[in-house]
Symmetry: C2
Subunit: 352 residues, 2 copies
Amino acid sequence: VPRTADSPRGGLTYAAAGIDLDKRATLVENIRALTRADEKDNVLAGVGPFASLFSLAGYRDPVIGASVDSVGTKLRLAVLLERYEGVGIDIVNHCVNDVLTSGAQPLFFLDYIGSSELGESAKLELIRGMTRACDDANCVLIGGETADMPDIYAPGDFDLVGILIGACERSDLLDPSSIGEGDVLLGLPSNGLHTNGYSLVRRVFNVGCGGPVHDEQRRLQQVYTELGESLGEALLRPHRSYLAELKPVLNRLKALAHITGGGIAGNVARIVPKGLSGVIAKGSWPVLPVFDLIARTGKISNEEMYRVFNMGLGMVLVAAPRDAEALSRDLPEALRIGQVVSGQIRVELREV
Amino acid sequence: VPRTADSPRGGLTYAAAGIDLDKRATLVENIRALTRADEKDNVLAGVGPFASLFSLAGYRDPVIGASVDSVGTKLRLAVLLERYEGVGIDIVNHCVNDVLTSGAQPLFFLDYIGSSELGESAKLELIRGMTRACDDANCVLIGGETADMPDIYAPGDFDLVGILIGACERSDLLDPSSIGEGDVLLGLPSNGLHTNGYSLVRRVFNVGCGGPVHDEQRRLQQVYTELGESLGEALLRPHRSYLAELKPVLNRLKALAHITGGGIAGNVARIVPKGLSGVIAKGSWPVLPVFDLIARTGKISNEEMYRVFNMGLGMVLVAAPRDAEALSRDLPEALRIGQVVSGQIRVELREV
């Protein structure tokens, strides 16, 4: 006969096994209050039912754009500093940028929090961050799942996954296959690491690696002159959304590359058609000080840095030469970083 | 200066930190080959791009139904027996059933696999299971995210999240608010635990709790006469989909409750309107032997069993009395389990 675990009043309960169904019901009520999804336009069913429902009335020939992402191990730094709202913003903005590359605009968002012994206040902070970022993107947190997973997550640890559903008319889709020789590459600045490279950066600074908590916290609280802030502030800055800036100019773009895992070359390569090559000039945009600090501290090669991090560019835009000047005028932050030429290497980062 | 981790050739690399970008690119190619999403109708962009794109052409007044779910700690048993395809089926069918409760039908599915050191063959088995279940549901695995999360997941452990997007005409939505006194409750059988109650059942049988692997495996391999199979077979049986059976009769239903966490009462309560009460007669359907075995082995109270497990019912249907007979004829598996009366308790499970 197999052994059984702790058995209050002689019999096992779900609560004793780490799952409290009553607490969960309260949490769902609190999430519902935070998101106020049911009050939003087009929402037929928000947080609570088995399925969330969203009306797509008013489109002629709708295309749905969908993206699923997770924050990655940036979460470990959030846990260490008990700052949860920012990673809630991270996951929404990451998804918003991904969906935006298609030309679709955000409609609604769903989240997944898998955790073990993560407090209700932490969960609500996450939801608060997601709700805030959803409001900024004019979309709605319409539903989600909060899973208690004892034995998969360590106590207090969690994973955060987001799904953004957007839509646009089929005729408004961006079309990377229209990219041609002579097209211009523009870059929009990132505000930090966004959500990529944290498994490397955690090792570089030995933070969020499971060492003594106070030592790790102290290292995150250290202020670096070149950053003008603490390491923790720099590393936890939420992923920037490019929606507000790019929405008015989408019709003048051929394609967008969101610079995430794989770096500038890896992500621009995802949109450049065969037979063409995006040539990008290093030095045509400012590399953020945090990347210099990471490279120096971790003795990381320049090549590896560019493979892993966004190095200061969060989004790369492709436009026809005739549109480039007007785009630069409408997007003061955009920098001309390269162009498209014929060639077999999809993307080349050139030292200038 | 903070310490740094292992530094091959003097400098830290992402690969040494647990993230291999090249391996990842290969995995994406293999997933693309398995899903063949780009060949499917309505898919404008499948696995690979920043956003997946799906055409919703042909609807008059479309409503999108969305659900996000995870498999929960059933995953630990899959890891223990190295059987991954079944939990891939689980996550899709769980989502299919959730979306079905709204009246929407599956269009496309996205997955998220968060893991650390989970082998490529395991990941592809998961995708294979999901693809198989998507094919059965006439929907397409259109995209996903595979995240390497060293330090959040233990080596070989993972979390599996799924998102199903469905749609229907607004006029085809099921309407739980139309439920009235005298309506009939029908139940469709489950084929096991589906995906709920595993944190409890793991403790009951002391499996997937982190003990010595061979001991835990041996306990799962034990064959029980009352089950007619091993414990592992019974516990890993994939969550059943009710789509094929219910699709032809959706227009004769008022509402559906998918019996997941919270049990029969907890989930039927989610659809019964205020002022009404669903009265369900225990004994009007056969409780599966696996639940008797769990209750006996864990000395779990009857009340707790019904709160945590589906107890043999996977889906509860609500229909007007005039439709009940025809439904029973068209759904040979459906059993009449109760009815709706006026009352303040949303759901009452009565001993008969």
